[in-house]
Symmetry: C2
Subunit: 152 residues, 2 copies
DNA sequence: TTGAATTATTTAGCTACGCTAACTAACTTA
DNA sequence: TAAGTTAGTTAGCGTAGCTAAATAATTCAA
């Protein structure tokens, strides 16, 4: 998804371009690692992500959930269908507007998410714990910046 | 793919668990932004990524490329087939071992990659440039840590 | 108050990209 | 040289994106 090393004509080290380039690469590599760990949870990343929104964002309509996950409604509709088949969420028709569906997590959904989250973060957390205190502080300070760059 | 906010029983702020949790979330959000920008380049992320390895890593065998991209050989074989159809790479049979294929970038491949890379990184780079110098330093310092966590 | 427009969701059908299994071809070695 | 190994391709499956079209409920205007 990105250059593995500085291409010819690489930007000046420390410049915004260089940071962007390396950050791009680092994010991709980090994501691949996370995805590898997500795979172990027995539920795919998009499903886990959608489930997460439902668990922590409470009952939510299909369209709102799709927007939160940045996918189209039909994509989310199918995702929710499989989550429902797996007993992780339920669809409840909104009594005020019967076109609308409220998607809620089941107890099984909440349990699976929390277990999965713990497993997912455990390995990364262990690596972070093995960093020097200084490095850990740097990482912590960088997180809000990453979130800002991600557009939150 | 991850909690949007601290779940009940969230770890102590600043602990390795908390950093792992937030980093997980930040990486996902950052990735989504990058993917959105990648989409604009007219070539899918997996293709762009593979092309990148070929361009910067020189002629490379199928199996090595698959390993570099962390996908199975058949997946890469198909990816390369489409890149070849698009005229971005060529397959050359290795004269020493005629089972083996050397995948090389074409001039068109190099051109597309560099143009795409510039476009991709430009928006992110602009946002980084707008950070305070201090924050930019923090980000720069964090990048090697991210790469280390990603397993490099 | 009903007919038209809008809104929320689902269904259908396409593409891309992961995977495994099975195949072909080429090389190595006992 | 036959048997085993290695490199790559082909076939076929599942998941997840998308758009277009269908369905159903609601809103609104004449």
């Amino acid at each position: 998804m990105s250059p593995r090393q500085a291409p010819t004509g690489a930007p000046r080290a420390g410049s915004s371009d260089a940071i962007a380039d390396r950050l791009h690469s680092a994010a991709i590599h980090l994501l691949r690692r996370l995805r590898r760990e997500d795979d172990a949870s027995g539920i795919s990343a998009p499903r886990l992500s959608a489930l997460s929104v439902v668990v922590f964002g409470g009952p939510i309509a299909m369209g709102v959930l799709a927007a939160a996950e940045q996918v189209r409604v039909p994509t989310m509709s199918r995702l929710v269908a499989t989550l429902e088949q797996d007993g992780l969420v339920t669809r409840v028709i909104d009594t005020n507007d019967r076109r609308s569906v409220r998607i809620e997590a089941t107890e099984a959904g909440r349990t699976l998410l929390n277990a999965g989250r713990r497993r997912r973060v455990a390995a990364l957390s262990a690596d972070i714990a093995s960093l020097k205190a200084d490095d850990r502080r740097t990482l912590l300070a960088a997180i809000p910046l990453l979130e800002k760059l991600a557009g939150r």
